[in-house]
Symmetry: C2
Subunit: 300 residues, 2 copies
């Protein structure tokens, strides 16, 4: 299971108490911070996201509403005495900015910040239970989306059954993998008697800031939850395109093309005080649409 917490859902200018983009994706082991607009560390405190659990930060692009909060978070982690490595995945130019800011403050981080410049579509991170890849999206400057996929979960062992058939614990790892057990008397005990399948692995795609681009559908095919920006309502489709952004309806079109199970809309323009119209428009194209609301946790 994955859990996505929204820390900021607004576009460039903060408005109506909405903050610039930041999200935290969690599995049982750790947290991934996706983009880090100004005020993210304050939002993390507000919504009880522990920064010590974050080992990976992914920055989609270098427009300020997606990373101006990063240097403050990195600094606070150091002031709090963090010792364990932090991995940062971002466009290459971010490293120079961070280095310059640290130098100007005569500051040193208390931990290793491992910088991974985003270079080409593909795998950027493989952990025990999850793999993460990046893909280019079409925006005014270099911009990346991220795809998180849980690995196939192991089968769950039935305690009563393994006891009944005297399966030794040394064989449990094979049971998890679906292998049948052969007893000392050469009897085959079918794996399906001893285990049950786990929940299927889940996936989450973060499409960052992007103009309407049908090719995205292929890149995020069949994800369980698709986050797609919807900076404007569809009446402003021309403005959206001119600024390399999307509308509610365009986001819904991508969800439909991709075969996503659910759609989450975010990155709302500060011209909109209320947001209900976004779901109303999108639901006409793609029914399972929700708004990304700050502080809300979406289970996947």
């Amino acid at each position: 299971m994955l859990a996505l917490t929204i820390l900021g859902n607004n576009s460039a200018i903060p408005a109506f108490n909405r903050h610039p983009t930041a999200q935290v994706l969690q599995n049982f082991e750790q947290s991934f911070l996706i983009d880090c607009g100004e005020g993210t560390q304050l939002q993390m405190e507000k919504y009880r996201v522990r920064n010590s659990k974050i080992n990976h930060i992914l920055i989609s692009h270098l427009h300020g509403d997606h990373y101006f909060g990063l240097i403050g978070l990195l600094s606070s982690m150091a002031l709090l005495g963090r010792k364990h490595e932090l991995h940062l995945y971002a466009p290459a130019a971010l490293k120079e900015i961070i280095d310059l800011q640290l130098k100007s403050a005569a500051a040193h981080l208390s931990y290793d910040l491992v910088f991974h410049p985003l270079v080409k579509d593909g795998l950027i991170l493989e952990e025990k239970k999850i793999i993460v890849s990046c893909f280019r999206v079409q925006h005014r400057i270099e911009c990346w989306g991220f795809l998180f996929k849980e690995k196939k979960n192991i089968r769950k062992i039935l305690p009563e059954e393994v006891k009944k058939y005297n399966v030794p614990t040394s064989f449990f790892e094979q049971l998890h993998q679906g292998i049948d057990y052969i007893t000392e008397t050469n009897e085959t005990i079918l794996n399906s008697l001893l285990t049950i399948p786990s929940t299927p692995p889940k996936s989450y795609a973060y499409c960052a800031d992007t103009i309407y681009d049908e090719q995205l559908g292929e890149k995020v095919k069949n994800v369980d939850l698709l986050y797609h920006e919807a900076t404007y309502l569809h009446a402003l489709q021309k403005r959206a395109a001119a600024r390399f952004h999307s509308t509610s309806i365009e986001a819904a079109m991508i969800a439909r093309i991709s075969g996503a199970k659910r759609l989450l809309l975010g990155h709302f323009s500060s011209m909109y005080e209320t947001l209900d119209e976004f779901t109303k428009e999108a639901c006409g194209i793609f029914k399972d649409t929700e708004l990304a609301i700050e502080g809300m946790c979406y289970l996947i």
Copy 2:
């Protein structure tokens, strides 16, 4: 009259809903933003400080809790279509950071950002009703304090009296300056019959981040309101000195030495959940001490 609004009163790590340093000093004409920690633009929105009124921003030093909110504010001003000049007074290295961040975003500001590197103690700005100077303070890196002084106010004209003596409006400017009026029949009408003195000009000193330094007393002599950092209570005096910070009692000592009328304490360490002890300690040395509380407006 001057009015000081506190937007952030905390030191490096945000805590207990306290934000990093930022203040706005206003007279009837405009607003000066002093330091700009992360989240300042959000605090400005919360406390109804209009950013279009800000024509001068002063940054004391390049520790993040004093400037990480600046680039976001500058960007938002551009997105809101600001056209009029903005003056920025700061350590020289800040320009390189801003330029790099704008370049990485392929962004251009919609207004002229006039950068004034702080180089030596003395006048940095003279407006119609106020003069601003800077002075070096002792901190771990280059750091500056700021002194705001209202110019001498003009005398106020008494409408009934100028009517009685038939003083032409063309002479009003001279009346404001305290000059006697001589009638057509060569009679001298004393200025003191026609005008009353205005309120005396006020002054405010912002001492930024500093170790205890008695020489500060001379630099901020007799100000109406003195802001002095008090990162720690006095029990942690050694820690304060090691980190080039001050304690509540040290701040009060500077207020006493300087002959300040009132003292405002701020830049509290995030280790303190409550702040009452700060005033308690300081009041023992300097009675007119207040805490800088976010959202509060202090009239000078």
